[in-house]
């Protein structure tokens, strides 16, 4: 091999070992320091349910739970999440904690292409864990960091509204 820049090689090759609890399981992986958490989740851990839409914190497609709170996984390096508990759409689905939201989204067709949906669900779950019965205005406000090009948002607002009411009444939305 000839002529490549030794420094570049070193930089490109440098990785750091990080450990997380992802969706309830301990995982360890080697990441480059420049790798974002969303890339690490999608590429290294193959958790492709978390999406990237803007990689600058504007669209909400990459939302995951980090130690129980919704965060943008595109705005964080994987190394910064070392030691954290991370729950993605995959884990939230399997554990059943958002089953009522998913069912209501399905019933009302609050998704089309589905690309925004995992982020929407993470954010909806966050909202309902903070505010027991948000008004429609509050729901719209809370979702205003989640871009959806397909639905026009109304069905999403309706679905979250219905789930909030059902949770308060201790029943299911449908």
């Amino acid at each position: 091999m000839s002529g490549f820049d030794e420094n570049l090689l070193d930089e490109a090759d440098e990785t750091v070992r990080v450990r997380f609890v992802v969706n309830g399981r301990k995982v360890a992986c080697e990441v480059a320091p420049r790798e974002t958490l969303v890339d690490c989740l999608r590429n290294e851990l193959e958790l492709t349910g978390t999406h990237a839409g803007c990689e600058m914190g504007a669209c909400g497609a990459c939302l995951v739970q980090l130690d129980g709170r919704a965060v943008h996984s595109c705005l964080m390096y994987a190394v910064q999440a070392d030691g954290a508990r991370i729950d993605t759409i995959d884990g939230l689905s399997e554990s059943g904690v958002i089953a009522d939201l998913q069912a209501e989204f399905h019933r009302r067709n609050a998704l089309q292409c589905g690309f925004c949906t995992p982020g929407m669900l993470v954010n909806a779950n966050e909202l309902l864990s903070q505010v027991a019965e948000p008004s429609r205005e509050e729901i719209r406000d809370a979702l205003s960091g989640n871009y959806c090009r397909c639905t026009g948002y109304e069905a999403i607002v309706d679905a979250i509204d219905a789930v909030a009411k059902a949770r308060n009444e201790g029943g299911s939305a449908t």
Binding site: D5, C59, Q102, L111, C113, F115, C148
Partner: protein
């Protein structure tokens, strides 16, 4: 409401029923399979070095240092790809006289917009590929830049394509009736110049492609996030010289498309070539900034229009000039002139007048290409027409509803031909107008508006009627020489266990194609919907067809499925009749059981017929060959397009201190013919309206004087977010098309078609007390303040 195809109280009657989409559960669980998720063995990643100049000569390209970087497998320039890919030209024969330069995946010696891909790097990771881009040196020599419409039209100004006489791509004229005469004798004339900013699709998933060329098999497989896999199979085959049967295009889940992902992009063509050069899978996913500078943009029109009326407010004539700037090339294979063509043909469409003249001029400039995006041309035609109608109403002293009621083509006057040459089978403007008036509670809204004005609160009410083009026949592209199908195909099989599988050429982007196809098949065969599996989006599996664009999925794809299902039902009943020793006509299928047609008494499950036909054919009468797989193709005949219509309304408030606009409520009455799934239609309308509201209020690709896109990120380019969007009230009128059994027309573009016109009228209505007007979209707070002379 039209009568349903099958009585809704019969079991398995799904046409007209709001059932959730079976395939949406996967997406809700994060189990979508988007091309951006895909990872194949030995896959490499492409990245592109882009031009920083809007117009420049490429003097030299030095790729040596990039090539030497560890992990880089290939650095390719225009010359490398030109050796294996034939050039393409974005013209169609039926647009007489149109020109556009040949295009290649990467340019050879000249860049024509800022952001154009110039060099490709393929490496073991996207990060390494991007590192390598930084090691490439390109020497450019600036050329004069043509950015705006006026600059492009200046005589003796700089030319975008060397050797051409001017920067004109295409000109077209329409002239019908006696326009000059009508204007000369008119009691009233209203006239205005309108401008429409460039905007773009901003799908949440950017463009994504994985090309996988296997040199041993001579086989190219492309996982391509597109609406139109067959079109790309044909293009990859022809431009790379691979037999069509050895090109497979797979379009799996796709994170939004809206027309944007059916065009040929230079990067996508390049990725196919890179995979051929390397014999390995190559992946490319545009990042958001790349999307803004390389996805097609849309609109960018300046329209001067006038309308003549008699003393009573009857429209007599329209006269229109549309100038549109499309970038440096016309897009391939659908061209960039369809939008302008539809603008001049759709203007005035809801109304009865006969004198119409229009000129269209399509102009090159140094920006990324424009082309078809949701509601091609409609929002412009609609805004121009509907704003002039409102201006006329004010001049004549009529209410906006009254002037429209007076001028729309009467519901009982069809068929009609518009002065622009469109043939309308049956539309329902009168019914829609009436319905909207009730639904908005119009008089109460006006009363409230008057009351609030006294308190310094400025509300606006706007309405806009529209006509939408759906179900296109070959008149759209085929006649122009494009290998874009207007027919669709379906293969329907009874499986050995008595379920049904439908392979169909229309594709799914989340609008619910698979859901409605399964509804139609289940309905027609007499099965529970969960026993129908629909497969789409794989050229190796599904029959050739046009796929999903221009609102043809339900109308054409649905009819294809309907006829295929009926044919399969006939074949099933033939076998059932042999087994039961009955006449086929005496039998029917309900809920997966063959029954007596008259008594509905159950005779035999269709699973039993499948079992006998597949495994015990020896028990059938000699000579019987059960045909439990049926293929069917359907191409629309009769009217060249199935036009739909409707009307939108909105109520909004303008803050005259800040210029901010708050849309309070939006309304639509829409007629898309037979409604297969009301919930899905409503969601198409809502999504379409919100895209239209985005265009009306926020979205614009802004360029500097040197042709740099200055707001190419999701933080700078404003898209509609939940907080700014209103609830949307929907009603339907159903006028099925008689051209098909199903009677369905399209609905996906209706929302976008009239939303911006509606907002434009409402804002102007709100500003009436100030004598201020706005005729430019998007209507930003700055434009409002400028109109109010406060800025």
């Amino acid at each position: 409401m039209s009568a349903p195809l099958t009585s809704l109280d019969r079991p398995n009657s799904y046409i007209g029923r709001s059932v959730p989409r079976p395939n949406a559960k996967r997406l809700l669980a994060g189990r979508g399979r988007y091309v951006s998720d895909l990872k194949l063995p030995r896959m490499l990643y492409a990245a592109f070095l882009r031009s920083p100049h809007a117009h420049a000569k490429i003097i030299s390209i030095d790729i040596e240092r990039a090539r030497a970087l560890e992990g880089v497998h290939l650095v390719a320039t225009g010359a490398d790809l030109a050796k294996i890919c034939t050039p393409w030209t974005g013209t169609l024969d039926h647009f007489k006289g149109m020109t556009s330069s040949p295009q290649l995946p990467l340019p050879l010696d000249r860049v024509v917009w800022a952001g154009q891909a110039v060099v490709a790097v393929v490496a073991e990771s996207r990060a390494i590929a991007e590192d390598a881009l930084e090691l490439i040196e390109v020497d450019y020599e600036d050329l004069p830049v043509v950015v705006d419409i006026d600059g492009a039209r200046e005589a003796g100004g700089p030319l975008i394509n060397p050797g051409s006489a001017n920067n004109i791509c295409f000109r077209s004229q329409l002239d019908n009736g006696t326009v000059d005469d009508a204007f000369a004798h008119a009691a009233h004339v209203v006239e205005e110049e309108f401008s429409f900013g460039r905007h773009t699709a901003v799908t949440l998933e950017p463009r994504a492609i994985v090309a996988d060329y296997d040199p041993a098999a001579g086989m190219l497989t492309v996982h391509h996030a597109t609406q139109t896999p067959y079109q790309f199979q044909d293009l990859y085959s022809r431009h790379y010289g691979i037999p069509e049967a050895r090109v497979r295009v797979i379009a799996t889940d796709i994170g939004g498309s809206f027309g944007m992902k059916l065009h040929v992009y230079h990067e996508d063509m390049a990725v196919v070539g890179l995979s051929i050069l390397l014999g390995r899978p190559v992946k490319y996913v545009a990042d958001r900034i790349e999307s803004f500078v390389s996805d097609i943009h849309a609109r960018d029109h300046r329209v001067r229009a006038r309308m003549a009326l008699d003393a009573k407010g009857e429209i007599l004539a329209m006269d229109v000039l549309d100038l549109t700037a499309i970038g440096a090339f016309s897009t391939y294979p659908r061209t960039s002139v369809v939008e302008g063509n539809q603008v001049i043909r759709l203007i005035g469409a809801p109304y009865r007048f006969k004198n119409y003249r229009a000129s269209l001029e399509v102009i090159f400039q140094n920006k990324v290409q424009t082309s078809q995006y949701r509601a091609v041309g409609h929002p412009i035609a609609c805004a121009v027409t509907e704003r002039l109608v409102d201006m006329a109403a004010a001049k004549v002293g009529l209410d906006p509803f009254a002037i429209r009621a007076q001028n729309v083509i009467a519901d009982d006057a069809y068929p009609q031909t518009s002065p622009t040459g469109y043939r309308f089978e049956a539309l329902s403007h009168q019914a829609c107008l009436k319905r909207l008036h009730e639904m908005m509670d119009y008089d109460a809204l006006r009363a409230e508006q008057a009351e609030l004005r006294k308190r310094g609160v400025y509300r606006g009410i706007g309405i806009a009627a529209f006509v939408e083009i759906t179900n296109p026949s070959p008149a759209f592209y085929g006649v122009g020489g494009a290998r874009i199908s207007s027919q669709d195909g379906a293969i329907v099989s009874l499986t050995p266990s008595g379920e049904v599988r439908c392979l169909i050429s229309v594709t799914e982007q989340g609008q619910g194609t698979e859901a409605i196809i399964s509804q139609i098949v289940a309905d027609q065969l007499g099965l529970a919907q969960e026993h129908v599996k629909v497969v789409t989006g794989d050229t190796e599996v599904t029959p050739h067809g046009g796929a999903t664009w221009a609102c043809r999925g339900a109308g054409i794809g649905g009819e294809t499925a309907l006829r295929a299902a009926r044919a399969l039902k006939r074949n099933i009943l033939e076998i059932a009749a042999l087994i039961l020793q009955e006449q086929p006509s005496a039998l029917d299928i309900i809920d997966g059981e063959v029954v007596d047609a008259a008594t509905r008494q159950q005779r035999l499950p269709i699973a039993e017929i499948a079992r006998i036909a597949y495994f015990r054919s020896d028990t059938l009468p000699p000579g019987t060959q059960a045909q439990l797989t049926v293929g069917h193709h359907f191409a629309p005949q009769g009217y060249p397009f199935a036009f739909t219509n409707g009307i939108q309304g909105c109520s909004m408030e303008v803050d005259v201190e800040t210029g901010f606009i708050k849309v309070l409520k939006h309304f639509i009455v829409e007629d898309c013919g037979r409604v297969i799934n009301p919930m899905l239609v409503d969601e198409q309308l809502r999504g379409g309206i919100v895209q239209g509201l985005g265009a009306a209020l926020f979205e614009e690709c802004r360029y500097s004087e040197t042709g740099q896109l200055v707001n190419g990120s999701l933080a700078d380019y404003l898209v509609p977010m939940p907080m700014e969007m209103p609830d949307i009230v929907i009603a339907h009128v159903e006028t099925p098309t008689a051209d098909t059994e199903l009677g369905a027309k399209g609905c996906g573009e209706a929302g976008t078609a009239a939303a911006s016109a509606c907002v434009l009228n409402a804002v102007n209505d709100a500003l009436t007390p100030f004598g201020a007007t706005i005729n430019s979209i998007p209507i930003t707070p700055a434009k409002v303040l400028k109109a109010l002379k406060r800025f």
